[in-house]
């Protein structure tokens, strides 16, 4: 005999326009049986009433349509960013505003390392928000006998200590645009781009410092990170999906206490004999918490790394145009193969020229093999203009915009990369909606913190970290933003029939909130507290950790 549980809540925001709010939701077999008042849901017969959420607000479980499992791995290293950031265990790491503070945190971590050879690695460092430039001698205060290095938030530059410089063979007269110098011409210990990564990897041993990718532990931590943010469906939006990864995913998602539905996207250009056949075989492993079938492709690089492909007039500061990561004709070919096989492809484009190429590729495959409702989705798509959005709408494409960028890099885009005009229409959610493109918004965690409510706040307020409002005409309402992080995101994953709203028949996936996002001031949306989640009727309370 199956049991029915009725959850009572202060308020239920269903995201179903037919019944926008309710107080009770009945759950049976992990699915939503009824939504409404207590009387209404009890019409289904005897039920156990659970009052855990009587003073909470329920929303559909939030959906992160673009994040990466690396979010579960970065926390093995030391957070050195300038914003407060919560780790998967619920601990809040305070943002650090000075180099001395960063050195202090690293030194403390260094003291806890047993192996004298083990590198000490920091991540999330953003040079824009600290008191001065970090140099090698700062990190020498952490250690002179082991490699110490810090990844910048942009991932483009790495700060290293003198130990690494020496091992890499970098001397005072090493001359390269990839080895940065200060105004006085002194080497700073900042290594740039792939050349910098090569020098680092060679001197510390490639792979030896990295946590093995996609281990069960990393996947569990990733899921915890998602849960902390109220997320119940999360992607891992670019993975080669080699056998060990697949094994991890299958194993971990089958564990009773795994708190999310995981949707990995296979890197479409990963080398294998029969990519389409391989993906098809993976879908046989699908379960209610693991869904293979998405494909990811990458057209260009990043705007802040100056590797995105821009149309005229190019970069605001005159930097040369960026790089094609996959040439347009290859995009077309690979997209065509997956398109024909019925798979949905997510295409990373940052610059507007890359977006143009992706649109042309979709158009070409649609003409060749018309396919209704393919929902190929442009990911990031940060510089698209109205004309591009209109073409996307006509072609049946979706977009997942990178709203968090407005806060974290908006000022840099305004003054450095795009200039005022294009910065003000970056991640143009309002334009996309006006043009009829289905929209989601995302964090790209770990590039920025995983947190759809924060991402929604970005799309609503469009405030940069300095406080500038970047393009007020692209701001959207709170309701629109909440739609983007639930049904909107679900739509871009072809999951809106199963998740994204609290409606009969869907999975009983809820975000459990302390505050009502529709009642707090729009400026406070990011501060809405997440109590935990419910996945398939199972409650996952967030750990309560004091900072």
């Amino acid at each position: 005999m199956t049991t029915t549980v009725v959850y009572e809540a202060r308020k239920i925001l269903t995201m179903n326009p037919g019944k926008p709010t309710a107080t009770h939701v009945a759950v049976r077999d992990g699915r939503i049986l009824a939504v409404g008042s207590l009387d209404e849901v009890q019409a289904w017969g005897a039920a156990e009433i659970d009052r855990t959420f009587s003073d909470k607000v329920l929303m559909p479980g939030l959906i992160e349509g673009h994040a990466h499992v690396y979010e579960g791995m970065v926390w093995n290293n030391i957070y050195t960013g300038s914003y407060d950031r919560r780790d998967p265990d619920g601990k809040v790491w305070t943002g650090l505003g000075t180099i001395d503070q960063i050195v202090g945190r690293l030194a403390e971590a260094c003291g806890k390392l047993d192996d004298p050879e083990q590198p000490l690695i920091g991540w999330g460092f953003d040079p824009l928000f600290v008191d001065r430039r970090m140099v090698a001698s700062d990190l020498d205060k952490v250690s002179t006998t082991r490699p110490v290095f810090i990844y910048h938030a942009s991932l483009h530059i790495i700060n290293v200590n003198s130990f690494v410089l020496e091992r890499a063979g970098v001397t005072l007269d090493t001359d390269s645009e990839f080895i940065l110098r200060d105004e006085a011409g002194k080497i700073t210990g900042e290594l740039a781009g792939h050349v910098g990564r090569y020098l680092l990897y060679k001197s510390v041993g490639s792979g030896e410092f990295a946590v093995p990718g996609n281990t069960p532990e990393s996947v569990r931590r990733y899921a915890k990170s998602a849960q902390m943010a109220g997320v119940t469906t999360v992607t891992d939006l670019n993975n080669d999906l080699l056998q060990p990864t697949v094994d991890s995913y299958v194993k971990v998602t089958a564990e009773d206490d795994f708190p999310v539905r995981l949707m990995p996207a296979m890197r479409g250009t990963a080398q294998r004999e029969d990519p389409v056949g391989y993906l098809r075989s993976l879908t046989e492993l699908n379960s209610d918490r693991l869904r293979f079938g998405l494909v990811k492709m990458t057209v260009d690089g990043s705007i802040q790394g100056f590797t995105a492909r821009l149309r005229w007039p190019g970069y605001f500061n005159g930097r040369p145009n960026g790089l094609w990561y996959t040439p347009p004709e290859e995009i077309k070919r690979v997209l065509g193969a997956f398109h024909e096989a019925g798979f949905q492809v997510h295409i990373h484009t940052n610059g507007d020229e890359a977006t143009e190429a992706a649109i042309e590729a979709i158009e070409a495959v649609q003409i060749e093999k018309p396919r209704p409702d393919h929902r190929h989705t442009l990911q990031h798509c940060q510089m698209a203009d109205a004309a591009q959005f209109r073409r996307m709408a006509k072609l049946g494409a979706c977009v997942n915009l990178f709203s968090n960028h407005i806060y974290y890099w908006g000022d840099a885009h305004y003054s450095l990369t795009m200039g005022p005009d294009r910065a003000e229409r970056m991640d143009a959610v309002a334009s996309a909606m006006r043009c009829g493109v289905p929209v989601a918004i995302h964090s790209d965690a770990p590039i920025t913190p995983l947190g759809p409510l924060f991402t929604a706040w970005c799309a609503v307020n469009r405030r940069t970290s300095s406080g500038r409002v970047l393009g007020a005409s692209e701001c959207i309402s709170v309701d629109e933003a909440l739609h983007a992080i639930t049904l909107g995101a679900a739509y871009t994953l072809k999951m809106e029939g199963e998740v994204g709203s609290i409606e009969v028949g869907k999975y009983a996936d809820f975000a459990v909130l302390e505050d009502d996002p529709t009642e707090v001031a729009p400026e406070a949306l990011k501060d809405v507290r997440v109590w935990g989640t419910v996945l398939g009727g199972r409650i996952f309370a967030n750990p309560r950790v004091l900072p």
Binding site: G169, V170, T174, S176, E177, F178, I179, G193, H194, V195, R197, Y198, L199, Y201, K202, G205, S206, G207, D240, R267, A270, Q271, E273, R309, N321, L323, W324, Y325, T326, P327, P328, E329, E330, E353, E356, A357
Partner: protein, 314 residues
């Protein structure tokens, strides 16, 4: 420390890089080459040649290995460089959209590596059109400009007239002077590699080990040697090497200068850049032996003889 020579094979998608790499792997002439490729699938290695396949590396019975680059060229390259014993030569297949000079920067900065040339393949049928493409035109042009030499592939598929036009366009519009034609990836080993100069005299002529193809390539190249028992003046030699005729593909050999007594230098010159590796050695006979390989018709032997002789120390 001996620096491992590193060759970069650039060029857009479909320009014939794989064909060339296949040939290099098969015709390695005893060198233990490590070839880093983007896709194993394209590389056609005869099954009987393969002695092992482990993860992203295939070992061949001739001592060569072939590694798949996978997601990260940087990581794949570090792995190869750290192998024991290290390979004698590394060849990287740059991805179709890579800017080869960025990879070359790695070879320039790593004291364990030496750039042995950026060879950029250009498909005779498509390159001009690609260089004007609205999306990838600038990428293709950057690749061509970065080349120490351009390997113009599939020349058998275009008319003579078109070929002449291509040469003129590459020279004038793109600004490259060193163009080598190839069919089915056939390029003489002495043009591809520069590692044959440990023994005085070896490699003084264009080697013939790769000529079983139906196209003879000897008519594309000419060589010229400079031999002397004297020493160069270091300064004059530098000036000379920086101003060789534009058609010189490679210069290699050994030499001595007045400024480095008791040392013999091994010269490696490709395209516009060169370096000399010095090691202590008593003067042999001859003291200098250098060989130039150039595009046919670009060497004025008499003038060269005069210029090289002028660079000798008084």
């Amino acid at each position: 420390m001996t620096r491992i020579p590193l060759t970069i094979i650039g060029g857009f998608l479909g320009s014939g890089k794989t064909t060339l790499l296949n040939r290099m792997l098969r015709g390695s002439a005893g060198r233990r080459i490590a070839v880093l490729v983007n896709d194993f699938g394209d590389i056609n290695i005869d099954a009987e040649l393969i002695t092992g396949h482990e993860g992203s590396t295939i070992s061949l019975s001739n001592g060569c290995i072939c590694c798949s680059i996978g997601d990260s060229l940087v990581e794949a390259l570090v792995e190869v460089v750290r192998m024991t014993p290290p390979p004698e030569h590394i060849v990287i297949e740059a991805s179709g959209v890579a800017e080869p000079q960025n990879i070359a920067e790695i070879a320039r900065l790593d004291p364990g590596l030496r750039l042995s040339g950026i060879l950029v393949m250009a498909d005779a049928e498509r390159v001009k059109e690609l260089a004007g493409d609205k999306f990838v035109g600038d990428t293709v042009r950057h690749q061509l400009c970065a080349a120490d030499m351009i390997l113009l592939s599939k020349v058998d598929r275009v008319l003579e007239e078109r070929k002449a036009d291509l040469h003129a366009w590459l020279r004038n519009a793109i600004g490259v002077k060193r163009i080598v034609e190839t069919v089915h990836g056939a390029v003489p080993m002495d043009v591809l590699f520069d590692t044959d100069f440990e023994e005085p005299g070896a490699g003084a002529t264009v080697a013939h080990h790769d000529h079983h193809d139906h196209h003879a390539h000897d008519d594309q190249f000419e060589t010229w040697a400079f031999v002397s028992d004297q020493e160069f003046d270091g300064g004059k030699l530098g000036e000379l090497l920086g101003s060789l005729p534009a058609g010189v593909l490679r210069a290699k050999g050994f030499l001595r200068t007045q400024q480095k007594p008791g040392q013999t230098g091994i010269l490696h010159l490709v395209g516009g850049h060169w370096e000399i590796a010095w090691h202590a050695a008593p003067a042999g006979t001859p003291a200098i032996r250098l060989v130039l390989i150039a595009v046919k018709g670009t060497l004025d032997r008499e003038a060269l003889q005069k210029r090289f002789a002028c660079a000798l120390a008084d």
